[in-house]
């Protein structure tokens, strides 16, 4: 088991910078999820830990050891690939034991480790099959087993579930969570799926365009996003972001939020700021009312999701998503409604630059 640390790590391909000044500490034994849209550099970051990509500048440590110039095979890590990357010409047993045989582990020990991994992943009946004779889920288990038998210091997962269907993905996700709980080994997991990120992570790292946007406990990231990007990326359905004008007094700490067709006043939660901003509110936090509210609108689309109903409401401020309990959903498309923004649940971001959150240090939502 070991920690992983990036110190001012930069990754450039000729003149194209993929990762700029990455600083990140992954504590020993934690499950860390790197999440972000495609092209944000999360896979590159993972591949740098694996040693499959060179580091242009900066230092990478696994445990106490600086590993910039250490070959992948000497880093004591194991990786599960998105496309499984099994050895097609070998049986499952040989796939699992390949790394151990290369490392000249005694045969009796190999047999034991393979048997343990096969049992843990339910692969006993498939040990003599080739990968081509397995289903997608079984192949992914073999790929995980191949990592498992190595007993590495760090496990790396590169979007391991993205090739599976939705049902299997849920099952495997829980299996990975169970595995981490059992092994307590450092795991670094890359995904673009925010559900995987939210459910698996001890620490979530949100990335965009080669930079870290926010690091933190998933629930904290969800409830206190550091910027508008993170707010929009984490959470489903996507947070409503409405352009507003913000005025926060320096003394009395009252924030006035002026949007198209609505106005809100919030006390003592946001830092001093005057100018354009973005107001964020999660669809699940928006309420609807027939007679009174902050903003008038008309139901555009109604999407029943079972126990929840998702409304798209046309308002002067733009489209507003609102997710209600099915029991509260008494409006039909075309109905006039009032949209209610509970002021204690409102997020506020700068309109320019990195669109940073205006939430005061220690302020809560």
């Amino acid at each position: 088991m070991a920690s992983v640390e990036f110190r001012n790590v930069v990754k450039r391909y000729s003149d194209h910078t993929v990762i700029s000044k990455l600083n990140l500490f992954i504590p020993d034994g934690k499950f860390v999820v790197l999440v972000g849209p495609s092209g944000c550099g999360k896979s590159t970051t993972l591949r740098m830990i694996a040693g499959l990509e060179d580091i242009t500048e900066g230092d990478l440590f696994i445990g106490e050891r600086r590993v910039n110039d250490v070959l992948p095979r000497d880093r004591d890590i194991a990786m599960v690939f998105q496309n499984y990357a099994l050895y097609p010409h070998m049986t499952v047993r040989d796939n699992l034991s390949f790394g151990l045989r290369l490392r000249r582990i005694p045969p009796s020990e190999i047999e034991k480790r393979v048997a343990d991994a096969a049992e843990m992943l339910g692969l006993q009946e498939y040990l003599d099959r080739r990968p081509s004779q397995l289903s997608g889920g079984q192949r992914q288990r073999v790929a995980m087993g191949r990592a498992l038998v190595r007993r590495p210091q760090v496990f790396l997962f590169d979007e391991p579930l993205s090739n599976l269907d939705a049902k299997l993905r849920g099952e495997m996700r829980r299996e990975i969570a169970r595995l981490h709980h059992r092994l307590q080994t450092t795991m670094v997991y890359v995904t673009h799926d925010q559900v995987e990120a939210m459910t698996l992570a001890d620490i979530m790292v949100v990335m965009e365009k080669g930079r870290i946007r926010q690091v933190g406990n998933p629930m904290d990231v969800y409830s206190q996003p550091a910027d508008a990007f993170t707010a929009a990326f984490i959470g489903s359905p996507t947070i409503n972001l409405l352009p507003v004008e913000v005025r926060t007094g320096e003394v009395e700490r009252i924030t006035t939020i002026e949007g198209q067709g609505f106005s809100l006043q919030v006390t003592a939660r946001f830092m001093h700021y005057q100018g354009d901003g973005l107001m964020g509110i999660r669809p699940g936090d928006v309420r609807l009312s027939s007679d009174t509210g902050n903003l008038q609108g008309r139901i555009d689309v109604m999407e029943p999701l079972g126990h929840r109903v998702l409304y798209t409401v046309d308002t002067p401020a733009g489209s507003v998503l609102c997710e209600l309990d099915a029991s509260e959903a008494r409006w039909k498309p075309g109905d006039a409604v009032h949209v209610v923004f509970p002021m204690e649940l409102v997020h506020l971001f700068e309109a320019d630059g990195d669109q940073k959150s205006l939430l005061l240090e220690g302020g809560t939502i």
Partner: protein, 279 residues
């Protein structure tokens, strides 16, 4: 598909199969027909049958009275196998480098391989003769092995590189992380996965050496170091041609190649990488 379409397609296929097989059948007819004239008749069925030509070819002897035919067969087999081994070793290792590594001169090297292919073999005959002469390798199989394996390399490298490119990198990366060295990645992962391409290139190398005539005729002068194509050609004289022996020899020469095709055909089926990565 309509019945007429089926008939049309099959008629077409049968016609071209016949076109391909007919000359071969005429050679087979000649090889079992007595006499040395090549009859003008187009019937592939011989009027009289004899195996005399075959026994004459197989029973031929050199000046010292030793069996010549088997000596020449041995020459050809050794030459072809050695060419295949040397050629495959050089081609697979360089194709791997061209496929996986990025180094100065990589593009240039690949282009040069193509350019070299565009010159006819006869063009390099004289320089090769001079080189082999200086090395003292004229009239020796070693010299021919070197010449054949190097001339087959461009084709083999391109074929193998193309195939290596289709093997997902992640499989090798997984092996690398698992603890493999570069050579182990090549030998234990890439080579076993490339059986179809290796079979094709091995067959190509083998046939290059087995069938080649011009260079062999130029570089070999002693009867005992002849290869089969050279032997065949010597049945065709300036004034008279022993067509019977020529045809019998030709049939005998093609048997090993046919056998090789038959053995290798199951490896020629691609799709060995199926199942390793998400398809």
């Amino acid at each position: 598909m309509s019945r007429w379409k089926t008939i049309l397609i099959h008629g077409f296929l049968i016609f071209f199969t016949a076109m391909t097989l007919y000359p071969v059948l005429l050679v087979v007819r000649k090889s079992v027909t007595p006499g040395d004239n090549f009859e003008r008749s187009l019937s592939p069925i011989p009027s009289r049958v004899t195996l005399d030509h075959y026994s004459e070819v197989i029973g031929s002897r050199d000046f010292n009275g030793r069996p010549l035919f088997w000596r020449i067969v041995l020459n050809s087999v050794v030459l072809s196998l050695a060419t295949t081994l040397v050629g495959m070793f050089l081609a697979s290792t360089s194709a791997y480098a061209f496929s996986r590594l990025r180094f100065p001169g990589r593009r240039m090297g690949l282009m040069m391989f193509l350019v070299v292919q565009m010159f006819p073999a006869t063009l390099i005959m004289i320089p090769l003769y001079v080189i082999l002469d200086k090395l003292g390798l004229l009239d020796s199989l070693v010299g021919l092995v070197l010449v054949y394996s190097t001339t087959a390399i461009p084709f083999c490298v391109w074929t193998l590189k193309g195939y290596f490119d289709t093997i997902p990198r992640e499989i090798e990366e997984a092996a690398w992380i698992d603890g493999a060295t570069r050579f182990q990645m090549f030998w234990r992962i890439v080579i076993p996965l490339s059986r179809p391409a290796l079979a094709v290139t091995a067959l190509f190398s083998f046939m290059t050496a087995w069938n080649e005539y011009i260079l062999a005729e130029t570089f070999l002068s002693r009867e005992t170091s002849y290869t089969l194509p050279v032997m065949l050609q010597h049945y065709v004289g300036t004034h008279s041609t022993q067509w019977g022996k020529f045809a019998a020899g030709a049939v005998l020469v093609s048997i090993p190649v046919m056998a090789l095709f038959y053995i290798l055909q199951k490896h020629l089926v691609s799709g060995l990488t199926a199942g390793g990565v998400k398809g």
